[in-house]
Amino acid sequence: MIESMLVFGLVNSAVLMLLALGFSLTFGLSGVANFSHGGIYLFAGYLAYFLLKMGLPYFIAVVLTIFITALLGAAIYKLIVIRVRGIVLNEVIATFAIGICMLEFFRWLGFVTYEYSLPYIARGRFTIFETTLDYQRSLIIVVALLLAVFLWFFTHRTKTGLALLGMAQDEYTALAVGIDSDWAATYSFAIGGAFAAIAAVMILPLGIININIGYEVLLIALAVTVLGGLESTKGLILACIILGYAQVITSTFFAPHWKEAVYLAAILIVLAVKPSGLLGKFKELEERV
């Protein structure tokens, strides 16, 4: 029992991290809270579904999905968000409207039946710590770790990543050394979209694709972001682990329904005790009172 809780808690944490990474990245790098993240996530899911249905090989379909979703993210910034950039309220409303449009449009098209599901990457299962774990779930952990490492490498070792990091730390100084703010934001939206697509391809096979998942993804992203503190990737990982295990524990000892309550309870407690999030440092005074 303890072993299975440990293992599935880890899986759950990895799922949360995959879901939140794109949102948190876009927010951290461009300062725009992309409320259409849930919509983009489901867009990627349906896109992968239709590409596979067209008979493309799995690998090509996935790469295409990630690429097209990244383009969609960039397009959302270039076409819409750029016009309201800097007016926080309008950014929020605009991206929220885009997200709702996408989700409700999918609902209207009737993409809700059982046939809409993605295939597993690898079937089969193995036993670890007396717990049976299937390959898909273990792959999720691997991919989440890889993405975290990639992200760290990208923002600390590549020129593009360093430029984005600089933009996140201080926009005006970054502008002064010649980094284009709009370029950085477009990049961050594209990466956010790509991450959402990776999450969709990895996680959606575990169940059927459901419209309400789109809203849930946004909730998860919010919970993780607020809990972990914005700018620190470590905080993000820590928050995912806390939330992931808290969920598994509540659904083991209480009813599975209470799983959802964990998000809000966690947010409320953290905000009451430490408003900047667990490991958040920057922007504490500017953004929050």
Binding site: L89, A97, I100, W108, L218, A255, L264, L285, V289
Partner: protein
């Protein structure tokens, strides 16, 4: 417009110095100022009497428009204090469920259950939201977005208050004309009270929190306490809307927390002009009949709201109300650019 020319805007003569101080010298000018307001109020008061002309269907549409107008007023009040809400359904649903609870378990008649649910709902909303009032901007918006979904989940999970089936068979209200009249009067009263409130010293503090909360903090005022009071005040029209809607349809269920009650007020506020109370009401009365016309499209309606929201946020961020106000109070004429004039 031709090159070398620009549009010049000149205020009408009755405007003295500030936007809301006028120098009036005749009845015509008084009428010019008060006319639109009186017309709007009269239209709202007379419309419910025209049941025979409009039919019950459009009376119900007007009723829903009033409900959305109340939610929009609440949204605008929160906005004026610097709190952006993406989940008006939260207040609406809490009010609705309180009414259902009072009606079913205690058996209170509507005369008592509505005011009681309004106040109790507002108190509960304020208590739940109090810990997150430290947040502002996006963070607060994110939380308000989560709250209705979360409450919906709790009711679904625990099965309290009727669970997924809701509470039905509540007491009957006298009819659509009555409900409509009550909401119309409340909409007008709330608009008036909110407008006046923001002109008092108390309202000045609230507006200052919207403009720059750090300086209010530096002024030695307890920002969080003021925000909590603002949430309480703003919650009341919304919980009232929920309470009345519940008794009107004699059922309350999880749809009380539906996305539609969050996005309609938001869209109405943006269409009307964020921060203007009258604009919000105007937006609601434009949006709801429009959405009734779109009823054939089913859930695609929500997509249309989204597109409208996007269009107004990007294209006309000041909103219809401010736009109309500007056109009403200013002359416009085309004049040549000054450089050109100098050359001659």
């Amino acid at each position: 417009m031709k090159a070398g020319y620009r549009k010049e805007r000149i205020d009408r003569g009755i405007k003295a110095r500030a936007d809301d101080i006028f120098a009036i010298s005749s009845y015509r000018e008084i009428l010019y100022l008060t006319g639109p307001r009186i017309l709007a109020v009269l239209a709202l008061l007379i419309y419910p009497l025209l049941t025979d002309v409009t039919g019950a269907y459009w009376q119900t549409v007007a009723f829903i428009a009033c409900i959305i107008a109340l939610l929009t007023l609440s949204w605008n009040f929160l906005f004026s204090v610097g709190l952006v809400s993406l989940g008006q359904a939260y207040f609406f649903g809490v009010g609705a469920y309180f009414t259902g609870f009072f009606d079913r378990t205690i058996g209170l008649p509507p005369l008592y259950s509505i005011p009681l649910a309004t106040v109790a709902g507002a108190i509960l909303c304020t208590i739940i939201i109090y810990p997150v009032l430290r947040l502002r901007g996006i963070y607060f918006a994110l939380i308000t977005f989560a709250l209705p979904l979360f409450l919906m989940r709790i009711i679904e999970a625990t099965g309290y208050l009727g669970g997924t089936e809701g509470i039905s068979g509540l007491q009957r209200l006298p009819g659509i004309t009555f409900s409509l009249y009550v909401t119309v009067v409340i909409v007008l009263a709330v608009t008036f009270i909110f407008l006046r409130l923001f002109d008092t010293d108390y309202g000045l503090v609230l507006r200052a929190i919207h403009d720059n909360d750090m300086s209010v903090l530096a002024g030695g005022l307890n920002v969080q306490l003021y925000k909590a009071q603002a949430v309480f005040i703003a919650a009341m029209p919304a919980t009232f809307a929920g309470a009345l809607m519940t008794l009107h349809y004699r059922i309350v269920g999880m749809p009380a927390f539906a996305v539609e009650y969050s996005i309609l007020p938001l869209t109405a506020a943006v269409v009307g002009g964020t921060g203007t109370f009258a604009g919000g009401v105007l937006g609601a009365f434009i949006l709801v009949p429009f959405s009734e016309l779109l009823r054939a499209f089913g859930t695609l309606r929500i997509v249309m709201y989204g597109i409208m929201l996007l269009f107004f946020v990007v294209g006309l961020p000041e909103g219809i109300y401010r736009f109309a106000q500007r056109k009403y109070f200013q002359f416009e004429r085309i004049v040549p650019l000054e450089e050109k004039a100098d050359e001659k």
